[in-house]
């Protein structure tokens, strides 16, 4: 069984009866190994569809948690349970609960730095005062507004107030939280959150492959949210200097926001500035200034310096890319997808109205990026199998389009592998409109293919 990663959280979803026998087969050594390699801020086991478990069954997953924490130092735990299951888990492990317990995935997401909806009003209660405080601190750090109920009665009264809170937290327990450098995407900038003392450990808690993939997929502005950094030593200084040097190849900009140098030598700041790192007092001073964003490369993720022409290998393998796209659309829609025309030129989209797009990068023996552009309604149709219901929720449609392009990427990888071409794929990106796509793809030369299914047209673009 493998975890499904969404929004930085990897979820295992076992179902049925969980005891030593079943859990041992559900989670193999290979599965645990694969989990330690996942790009996730948190690993959870959902108990939503588990009707029975015993301690031996949970132990298999708890051992996996220990391995993941040892390798990646991220948060781990169980989620999606009722009060009976919550009490049973606490009872099984009593004073040795080394993992977290989140009553739902929504609650768990509040404790991840990558959570999209900040500023949530959260009512929380736990009979253990230290737990209440720990949760409040984590939520506050994550940009939410925690309201602590000091007694059960107070909690019940507040809980019954209509629409007073966005989320209510109960039956939740915080184990040791992860200390990985959490990453989130804001527009075309990637924000990493770092805290406390920055030392040699930064090398192991910073996900360098995520960073490199982000560079590959076209991100050019990386902001370190350093409000909570107390100090930095020479090992961390070297790490950030090297990071800035390697990013220079891509014309990437690295910024630090909110870093005070009260307990860090000011000479360090100069060294970092020499390496090209910029310093800002507040996040607002970057994200709120469009001109500055543009200058730093975040409004135009493609700096132009990394723009390369389609090469022979890409053209040779083009049929595989188109086959992967056609096969995926056919699989998702049960209709025949048809290639209508193909030409090599800079991306050209006649009508920008109501169109959305998604892209995925690949790198390895060859590199480049596949972009799919759909009219919004056609995207909904193409994603019907994944969405499952009628929706006009743009965020959901974009998320699902990202899943679709992820499948295309997986198929490309597999087809190229058959031809002994080894590539890895990046995380998918989505674009809510054509303007945001053009910020990264404008003037890029590539192969543009018009495709259709059920006479619904969409566009495929392969570029480097």
């Amino acid at each position: 069984m493998r975890a499904l990663v969404k929004d930085g959280v990897g979820i295992f979803s076992p179902q049925g009866f969980l005891d030593a026998g079943s859990a041992g087969v559900l989670l193999t050594v290979e599965d645990i190994h694969a989990t330690t390699k996942l790009n996730a801020d948190m690993i959870l086991v959902s108990l939503k569809k588990v009707v029975f478990f015993n301690r031996n069954g949970l132990d298999t997953f708890v051992k996996m948690f220990a391995k993941v924490k040892e390798k990646k130092n991220i948060s781990v735990g169980f989620c999606d349970y009722d009060v009976k299951k919550y009490k049973a888990i606490l009872n099984f492990y009593r004073n040795e609960v080394t993992f977290s317990l989140f009553s739902s995935q929504e609650v768990a997401h509040l404790f991840t730095a990558g959570y999209k909806n900040k500023n949530q009003n959260v009512l929380l209660y736990n009979e253990d005062k230290s737990q209440r405080s720990a949760m409040a601190i984590e939520l506050h750090d994550g940009g939410h507004n925690p309201i602590i109920a000091q007694t059960e009665d107070e909690f019940k009264t507040k809980k019954n107030a209509d629409n007073a809170y966005d989320v209510i937290i109960e039956n939740t327990y915080l184990g040791q939280m992860g200390q990985n450098v959490a990453a989130r995407v804001t527009g075309n900038a990637i924000i990493y959150t770092v805290s406390s003392f920055l030392d040699a450990e930064i090398g192991s808690i910073f996900n360098i492959s995520y960073h490199n993939n982000s560079l590959n997929v076209g991100f050019r502005l990386f902001i370190f949210d350093a409000y909570k950094v107390v100090s930095m030593n020479v090992h961390a200084l070297n790490f950030f200097s090297r990071l800035a040097s390697s990013g220079a190849e891509y014309n990437a900009t690295i910024c630090f926001v909110g870093m005070t140098f009260e307990k860090t030598p000011t000479a360090f700041k100069e060294t970092l500035e020499d390496a090209g790192i910029m310093f800002f007092d507040t996040m607002e001073s970057i994200l709120g200034d469009k001109e500055l964003l543009s200058e730093l490369g975040a409004s135009s993720a493609d700096s132009g310096l990394n723009r390369r022409v389609i090469n022979k290998l890409t053209v040779t393998e083009l049929p595989n890319f188109i086959d992967a796209t056609v096969a995926t659309i056919e699989m998702m829609t049960n209709s025949t997808a048809v290639k209508e025309s193909a030409q090599v030129n800079p991306i050209k989209i006649e009508d920008h109205t109501d169109k959305i797009a998604s892209s995925i990068g690949f790198y390895g023996d060859m590199d480049g990026m596949v972009v799919l552009i759909f009219p919004k309604d056609i995207a909904k149709k193409a994603c019907q199998l994944l969405i499952g219901e009628e929706t006009d929720d743009l965020e959901l449609i974009l998320d699902t389009l990202a899943e679709l392009v992820n499948i295309v990427g997986g198929k490309v990888k597999s087809l190229l592998n058959d031809h002994k071409v080894s590539v890895n794929i990046t995380l998918p990106r989505t674009y809510p409109d054509i303007d945001s796509l053009l910020e990264i793809a404008q003037d890029r030369k590539g192969v543009q293919v018009d495709l259709s299914f059920d006479n619904d047209k969409f566009l495929f673009f392969l570029t480097r």
Partner: protein, 265 residues
């Protein structure tokens, strides 16, 4: 990936129940065990299946039982009919399983376990009804149908499930507006199985509760029994644990009773 045309082709290719089986079932329906055994003896494959299945440990016979008349005599009318229906299902199963890591013997093991435990449940519920006892035999048809429809799409299914937690039943119903249990119903109709059987099996999907509360209750027990068995290591290893989605809320009110009966601890 899966089209209605493919489903229709699959249903069209289901052979009618062999004459010997039809006659055996007819005699069993009339309670004529000796005549049923006499006819069953003429079908060598049926004979071999019956011998193999009733000598499995779950049936608990101390000595090997080899004669059909002896088997029917020990099983009684209801369980004999149930076992003959189980054999009919195996006629649909593939020679080689591709989607699921199953062997013929493992599939028979699943049939035997479901059948015995279903009987135990019916005894617990004080239900003595031949048709209801046979209802469990249709349930594994959902596995056979999954194998038939998805075996050549294994990679696509894996790719799809690597980005979205969809079970095979949901994929099928979203693509074709028909689910695995609807196809099971069509098999049952083709084999002239009693209506009760199809109704209970449809309810056992977990998301199509019946208005008839008695039959719906049986649907709940069957859904939970299926996941109890599919949580056994051998069936998890075969990839059966998540081919359909477990509807935990559907079985909430009977779980404690089930756990006591099955001695789950």
């Amino acid at each position: 990936m899966i089209t209605n045309e493919k489903i229709n082709n699959f249903i069209e290719k289901i052979p009618p129940a062999p004459k010997a089986l039809q006659t055996t079932i007819m005699f069993l329906n009339n309670g004529e065990l000796a005549k049923a055994a006499q006819i069953a003896e003429t079908d060598l494959a049926l004979k071999a299946y019956l011998k193999n299945i009733v000598n499995k440990p779950i049936y608990g016979f101390k000595n090997e039982v080899s004669e059909i008349s002896q088997i029917f005599g020990i099983l009684g009318v209801s369980s004999s009919q149930q076992t003959v229906y189980n054999y009919m299902m195996t006629l649909l199963s593939p020679k080689k399983w591709e989607l699921f890591k199953l062997k013929e013997s493992t599939f028979h093991e699943l049939q035997a376990k479901l059948s015995r435990r279903w009987k135990q449940i019916l005894e617990h519920l004080n239900i003595n009804d031949m048709e209801i006892e046979s209802a469990i035999t249709l349930l594994p048809a959902s596995i056979i149908v999954s194998e038939a429809l998805f075996s050549d799409k294994k990679e696509d299914v894996e790719l799809l499930r690597s980005v979205n937690n969809l079970d095979l039943n949901t994929i099928l119903s979203r693509l074709c507006n028909v689910d695995l249990f609807d196809i099971c119903e069509k098999i049952a109709v083709k084999w002239e199985m009693p209506l009760n059987i199809t109704q209970i099996v449809q309810a056992s999907s977990g998301f199509k509760p019946l208005e008839d509360s008695d039959l719906n209750l049986l649907g709940k027990w069957m859904h939970l029994l299926l996941f109890y068995e599919l949580s056994q290591p051998v069936f998890i290893e075969a990839g059966l644990n998540d081919f359909i989605e477990f509807q935990i809320d559907y079985v909430g009110d009977i779980y404690d009773d089930f756990a006591t009966l099955m001695e789950v601890s």
